[in-house]
Amino acid sequence: MSHVHLLGWILFAPLAAAVLNAIVALRSARLPREANGHSLRPRDQLSAMVGVGGPLASALAAWALGFDFLSRDRALRLVELDLGPWFSFGQAHVEWLFRVDALSLVMVLVVTTVGTLIHLYSIGYMAGDTGFPRFFTWLNLFTFAMLVLVTARDLVVLFLGWEGVGVCSYLLIGYWFTDAAKAAAGLKAFVVNRVGDLGLLLGMFLLYWSMAPGGQASLDLDLLLAHVSKLSVPLATAAAVLLFVGAMGKSAQVPLHIWLPDAMAGPTPVSALIHAATMVTAGVYLVARLHPLYHHAPAALAFIGGLGALTALLAATVACTQTNIKRVIAWSTVSQLGYMFMALGAGAFSVGIYHLVTHAFFKALFFLSAGAVIHALHGEENLERMGGLWSRLRLTGPAFLVAAAANAGLPPLSGFVSKDAILVATWHAHHPVWFGVGLLTAGMTAFYSFRLVALVMGGTARDPELANGAHEAGWTMGLPLVVLAVGALGAGALEWPHELGGTLWFSQWLEPIFYPSLDHGVHGSPWIDLALTAVSVAVVALGAAIGWGLHAGPGAGTESPWPRLQGLWLTMRRGWHVDESLDLVAVKPVVFSSKAAAPFLEVLLSACSRLLLGGVTVAGRGVAALQSGLARHYAMAMLVGLVGLVAWAVLAGGQ
């Protein structure tokens, strides 16, 4: 099979699955809805097979393409699929052009592999739900949109995937729409993302018009990136920042992160796939994809890294205080995304992408094992009612522990390798502040990860009745946990640090992409790197020990372990009130004007028109007095008028 065909399979197998599932969903939508425990009805079985089959076919094709790439020369690691023109405007033509290169392949592999596992997991998790085929429709469609996003060669096509994943995210967050609050969380996610999307659009416009004078305006990535070196630095910075605003929305960077914690209203597999492993990393991919532009705009890079550091720290503090199992992991995701942007800001693009990959594994594992816990507890998400589950969940428990340890960055797990690489990169990029923030955040990450493990698995059950009923789910939920756990444990081998005797396979793989922007001198003396690693490991170990120690004992709860910090703790739990502040600054004024100001303006305008109308009416009444209704009077009036006119014409004409 040729490579183009493989790419076709990668892209369109999930789409085909989505279409089939949509048909199943629409056909079954009108059937009576009866909940029937956790068994699959025949139509659900069909939709499960199709729903997993699509992403699986895509994943197999992606791996086939990946192994083929390995055997090829670096310069030849490229496949393009051209499906003709989409639209053209001005001098530009937008093509349905999809391309896989080394960077896209990494993303495609993550999306399809983790995606397939999560689809499989969903069969067990969603079994018995009345909207089963609908769920798989959206999930398949999401996979397709995400693949479009990471393979698009034109920014406009990329934007299609970008918005497509947003819509699927909206639909899946609000999947249980009979609960109005959950549907509203979807709405919030979509609208906040739209703010970011506007930035992305404006960035595209700026690039387009900046190329227009040269007569080569286009939004094709190859043309654009070849052109960026000709841009003036301020212009490149403006474009880079505008595009990054899009990334801020999608990848939940401060202050556009407010939608992500609320997005946990969706089913847990959705949180794992969309709001941890794939969609939220789209912003990281975008910046990495446009690295020549960012390389040309150092100020924008500094902004990205700084904002990433801020986000990482802020979200980590919030994650330490949460009471809901999914919200801890959600805030942790925000924090890890901040890490990725910190890496990008330091110019270490391949390190950022590497953290994206390892994070996809361990965070998906984190969510899925949390989902297994929630499933075992019949939907309970409150940490106050958990505890003591280690002995009851023999598979989920270890998986949860692996995920937490990888998230915390304990060596030798994958999270350790990628996080350490980021810290080293910030140090070498002469950003000691970022390094410090990163180190602090790493400690806090370890703290909240092990706090979570302690609260969920450790100690004794706070709600024995609930805990006693806990049981493992079937193989469809177990298998993905095992595979992801292997990934979270072993993915570190891909980029095992030099100083610890490893080889940077991953960076070498991406070198042809980032070569122009990779500084090969960053890794200075191995002793410095070793020292940095030692410090970070020490901090992580300390954080993990405190987190575990404070929460594993009897009587531990979600409240602040330090009573004197109770006030700060609650502020952090509310996310530092960012959400409320934005609500006050941005949402309330709009709502006020929609409820009061704008309608008032309408009334005012209406009143003006009525005044005008009233004047005409009054004048009309006056004239109406002349109307007798007698034809003879009218005739007289006409006669008089006619005589008058003729007289005027004769007299005036006579002059």
Partner: protein, 499 residues
């Protein structure tokens, strides 16, 4: 020659309207849907024969009395072609969604409405344009006044008043032009090809006044902020078939008039006023969206949404860039489809709910899944989701607006955010949440309803993925005519370069 396609298109609705009046009530809907289908066929024929160039095609020239101008000229170009097709199709849709018990007069007025609007699109003569423009008001008025809801009298008064004010302003301009042409050329002509040459010699003051007259008339119809106040009430109380034509076609004739009449006749004034008018368009986008966000009636939400979307079209036009014009023309077609679908689906939902107040809605996704899917789909198209028909137009309009000024794109672009907000908020209130215990239960979309809605939904997808079907016919015209204002757009590129 005498009876070529445009002539048939012009005559068919009027003849059909005369015939339908004498038909028995039971036949009225069948006959008028056949007439509209005939109109769609004629339009499709014109579409098929259309060459992808900027020039006027299918031209017909009919000698007239010298008193009224040299000849009656009809024709179709990239500007009018797709509005013509969309108009005929919406006419068919409007008749199909009309209730079975509508009297022949209702159908006659619908046919006249479509006929007068077809006239506006076909004629290439200022005087006849004005005549059809004025005639168009009558069917609109009577459809609302005779078959609207309880509020109809209150709703029509501002509509009529402000429209007449606009029309008077246009009449003044038309008369001034006519008188001047007669004085200078010795013969009377209102031919749109000839007028620009004559008007070149006018003083700037005279041109400004004349341009203002035209702009006022067109701004009322679009409507441009702050002349929109008639719209929410009129759209809300008009019967469904009328509102489909009002929002789907009549509103676009305002922007059409800008492009066909006002801007080509007075290019310097247009260039000078464009930034201000673009500002009003942006104000309209945002104000409409905010109104839609706060509206409590499902029809009002859609009416304000239509106002906001027409602001997009106007913004594209006043960007004075080829990109913006292409986008505006595309958006006109896209919005015609989307707004029709939304109004129809909202009517179906309201029928089932027995009310139009949003407070009584809720949980319809549970009870009417197909209706919900269709509504979400149409709302997404309206919100400009890439892959559906709204996106490319919005994208090009904003791109063009950036060419005018980056601020125009940035502030106007907030409409992207607000648009998503009010549409999703509408869906939230109609479809999601628990089913209110008091809400009546009915059947999901019937086959007849599906047959009406499905083509619209399919077109949203087709035009989203293959906008070239529309774009190829528009772009040559927009590229050629926007060249008139090219100085401005290259200036914008320079500004972007200096940023």
């Amino acid at each position: 020659m005498m009876f070529s396609l445009p002539v048939w298109m012009l005559l068919l609705p009027f003849l059909a309207a005369a015939v339908v009046m004498v038909l028995p009530r039971a036949w009225a809907r069948t006959f008028s849907s056949l007439a509209m289908a005939g109109l769609v066929l004629l339009a499709a024929w014109i579409l098929k024969d259309f060459r992808m160039t900027a020039e006027l095609q299918q031209t017909v020239s009919w000698p007239m009395l010298p008193l009224f101008g040299q000849a009656l000229r009809l024709g179709v170009d990239g500007l009018s072609l797709l509005l013509l097709v969309a108009g005929a199709s919406l006419g068919l849709v409007a008749v199909l969604v009309a209730g079975k018990d509508r009297p022949p007069a209702f159908h006659a007025w619908l046919l006249l409405f479509v006929g007068t609007m077809t006239g506006v699109l076909l004629v290439q003569d200022l005087l006849l344009f004005y005549v059809f423009w004025e005639l168009m008001l009558l069917p609109a008025l009577f459809l609302i006044l005779l078959w609207g809801d309880a509020d109809r009298r209150r709703a029509t008064m501002p509509f009529v008043a402000v429209t007449l004010v606009g029309s008077l302003a246009m009449l003044a301009t038309v008369l001034a032009i006519g008188a001047d042409v007669r004085l200078r050329a010795g013969a009377v002509t209102f031919d749109l090809d000839v007028l620009p040459m004559v008007l070149e010699s006018w003083s700037p003051t005279a041109k400004t006044w004349a341009f203002a007259g035209l702009v006022l008339a067109f701004a009322v119809k679009i409507p441009l902020f702050p002349l929109h106040f008639w719209l929410p009430a009129a759209y809300t109380s008009a019967p469904l078939p009328a509102v489909i034509l009002l929002s789907g076609l009549m509103a676009k004739l305002g922007t059409y008039g800008m492009l066909r009449i006002a801007m080509p006749l007075f290019p310097e004034q247009a260039a000078a006023w464009a930034p201000w008018l673009a500002g009003l368009a942006i104000a309209g986008i945002l104000h409409g969206a905010v109104l839609a966000l706060g509206a409590r009636d499902v029809r009002t939400v859609l009416a304000c949404s239509s106002f906001s979307h027409l602001g997009w079209v106007a913004l594209g036009i006043f960007s004075l860039t080829a990109e913006g014009w292409t986008g505006a023309l595309l958006q006109q077609v896209g919005h015609a489809i989307t707004t029709a679908a939304l109004f129809i689906l909202a009517a179906y939902a309201s029928e089932r709910q027995g009310a139009t107040k949003l407070a009584t809605f809720g949980g319809m996704a549970t009870t009417y899944p197909w209706l919900a899917v269709a509504l979400v789909f149409a709302a997404m198209a309206s919100a400009g989701l890439p892959g559906l028909n709204g996106f490319v137009g919005e994208f090009l309009i904003l791109l063009g607006a950036w060419g005018l000024s980056p601020w125009a794109a940035a502030v106007g672009g907030l409409g992207v955010v607000f648009g998503a907000a009010y549409l999703l908020w509408l869906l939230q209130r109609m479809l999601y949440g628990a089913v209110p215990p008091a809400s009546p239960r009915g059947a999901d979309l019937s086959p007849r309803e599906l047959v009406i809605v499905m083509p619209l939904l399919v077109m949203m997808l087709v035009f989203g993925i293959r906008p070239a079907l529309v774009l190829d016919r528009i772009k040559p015209w927009a590229d050629a005519k926007a060249g008139l204002f090219h100085a401005t757009s290259s200036h914008a590129a320079e500004m972007a370069g200096n940023l």
